[in-house]
């Protein structure tokens, strides 16, 4: 056995050494108390030191981790999509300080790690690297949950806003309806007196007063028109309150055609149906049938010498902005949204271009002589608006007109 010599250190050196060791020891304890993993490698990615959190993360003893390559010890899942390399690789690349998220699988457990890498110059220009590894699995999960909750909220907000809008519109319509009814009723009796008066005078005049007869006939026609307007207003107001139910548009079209089948037959019009399957659309069946009958009657009237009535339904993905498509509050549809479409096409005379812009104006009509009130399309447009649906009327290239209805599904 050899005798050990006492080491040659002065008391000063020993006390300085002890002081530095105390500082280093505190530092080590502090770094190991941090929940994030801290790894310190040399320029080749070889581990020089790590804290206890890292040893726990890789399931190894602290001391055995030293000297290993970080790449070998912390095996991250490859992400082919992003061509993401391991943060302990390409240490010589100019991009020295990086931060990114990586996937780690340990048995059945999956982690998402946020790894930041910082280059530190130490010991005579040798680069070393500090890696700070944070487990952000929970954060990412809550983030995703929050995002989902937010999107659900936004969706319900949209539904609520929609419902609120419909209620407001329904209230407005109801008010207009009540007003119309009371106006119609108060006008009806005076009108009846006027009519009786006209009939009385008409009975008294004859061939001897052709001018008087002409005036009386015009007055009678005017009265008929007023009656027709009132009838339409009452008809519209009397229809029951709006009741939205998921309905099959194709079947409503069939029902509407049934109501006008005699007119179709009389005008010798061929009916073509090009129906696609569409999911049920929430709407008021009676009111939409009213709109469809109106449009079909218009089509029939534009084809006095016969023709083809085409009814087409399907789905359409809205691509372009404009009309009621957009992100604004008052837009009915969002770009990219898929809507249900119903088209009514005729091969009739079409609509003069200068008139196209006015067809939805109340009391505008080109068919005064046929008893048109100018309320049909305007009421149709209101009903569709109530459904947050749109209507568009255009001339077809080959002649005739086409009405296009779009509904939210």
């Amino acid at each position: 056995m050899m005798l050990s010599k006492e080491p040659l250190l002065t008391d000063n050196s020993i006390s300085l050494l002890n002081e530095l060791r105390t500082t280093l020891g505190k530092l080590e304890v502090a770094l190991s108390a941090i929940a994030d993993s801290i790894v310190w490698t040399d320029a080749q990615g070889k581990i020089q030191w790590c804290n206890e959190a890292f040893a726990r993360l890789v399931g190894r003893r602290h001391i055995e981790v030293l000297g290993s390559q970080l790449v070998d010890l912390l095996v991250l899942e490859e992400d082919r999509a992003s061509h993401q390399t391991h943060p302990a690789q390409l240490l010589q690349s100019p991009e020295t300080d990086t931060v990114g998220c990586y996937r780690l699988r340990q048995g059945d457990r999956k982690f998402i790690l946020e790894i930041s890498r910082t280059r530190v110059w130490a010991e005579s220009h040798n680069a070393t690297f500090i890696f700070v590894i944070r487990d952000v699995t929970e954060n990412k999960r809550s983030e995703a949950e929050l995002r989902k909750a937010l999107s659900n909220l936004e969706k319900s907000h949209g539904v609520l806003k929609n419902a609120q809008w419909q209620i407001e519109q329904a209230k407005k319509l109801e008010l207009i309806g009540r007003l119309a009814v009371s106006v119609a009723h108060s006008i009806k009796n005076p009108l009846a007196s006027l009519r009786m008066g006209i009939d009385y005078f008409a009975g008294g005049t004859g061939a001897e007063d052709p001018e008087g007869t002409f005036i009386l006939t015009s007055m009678k026609d005017a009265l008929e028109r007023v009656n027709a307007v009132i009838g339409e207003l009452l008809d519209f107001s009397n229809s029951q309150a709006v009741t939205m139910r998921p309905e099959d548009i194709n079947s409503i079209i069939e029902h509407s055609l049934l109501l006008v089948q005699h007119d179709l037959k009389r005008s010798g019009i061929k009916v073509e149906r090009i129906f696609k399957e569409i999911p049920p659309v929430p709407l008021d069946r009676n009111k939409i049938a009213h709109v469809l009958v109106n449009l079909v009657v218009n089509a029939i009237q534009s084809m006095p010498k016969g023709g083809t009535l085409t009814l087409r339904t399907g789905l359409e993905k809205l691509e372009t902005l404009g009309g009621r498509v957009g992100h604004r509050d008052f837009d009915f549809f969002k770009p990219g949204e898929t809507v249900a479409v119903a088209e009514i096409e005729d091969t009739g005379v079409g609509i003069p271009e200068e008139v196209l812009g006015k067809v939805f104006e109340p009391f505008f009509t080109t068919k005064r002589a046929l008893g048109g009130t100018g309320l049909g399309l305007s009421i149709a447009a209101s009903i569709l608006e109530l459904h947050r649906a749109t209507i568009e009327i255009r001339n077809r290239e080959g002649g005739g007109a086409r009405a296009t209805l779009r509904f939210q599904i």
Binding site: L9, L24, L27, I63, L66
Partner: protein, 118 residues
């Protein structure tokens, strides 16, 4: 016979003993043969003499922590660690490190069994 008496009498496996400052106070013949240092050359030198450069920081940090906290993390069980010879050759070895307090001061001893031909 306690651990340190056994270490001092070990004749086949390399042994090194240090004081609380981490300075070498004892080595045996196998140590001198494996590492290539003579007893005179190593006595009073820091233990980092036989630790690869890459592990010096970890050694200082770990050693200091133990002195501060007295909480052992690697004592008395076989550890596979690298050691370095006088010629600068690194080799894998099984270390068993022990610590003991004598007269208020820690002493540390280790057997270092090479796992490869040195």
């Amino acid at each position: 016979m306690d651990t340190f008496e056994r270490l001092r009498e070990e004749e086949t496996v390399p042994v090194v003993i240090t004081n609380q400052q981490g300075l070498i106070t004892h080595t045996n013949k196998p140590f001198q043969r494996v590492f290539g240092w003579s007893e005179d050359e190593v006595l009073g030198k820091p233990l980092t003499l036989i630790i690869p450069k890459a592990l010096h920081d970890a050694h200082h940090l770990g050693f200091s922590r133990f002195l501060n906290t007295g909480r052992p993390t690697l004592l008395d069980r076989p550890l596979q660690l690298k050691a370095v010879t006088k010629g600068g050759r690194e080799f894998a070895a099984e270390h068993i490190i022990s610590a003991e307090k004598r007269n208020g001061e820690w002493i540390f001893g280790a057997t270092i069994r090479p796992l490869v031909e040195v």
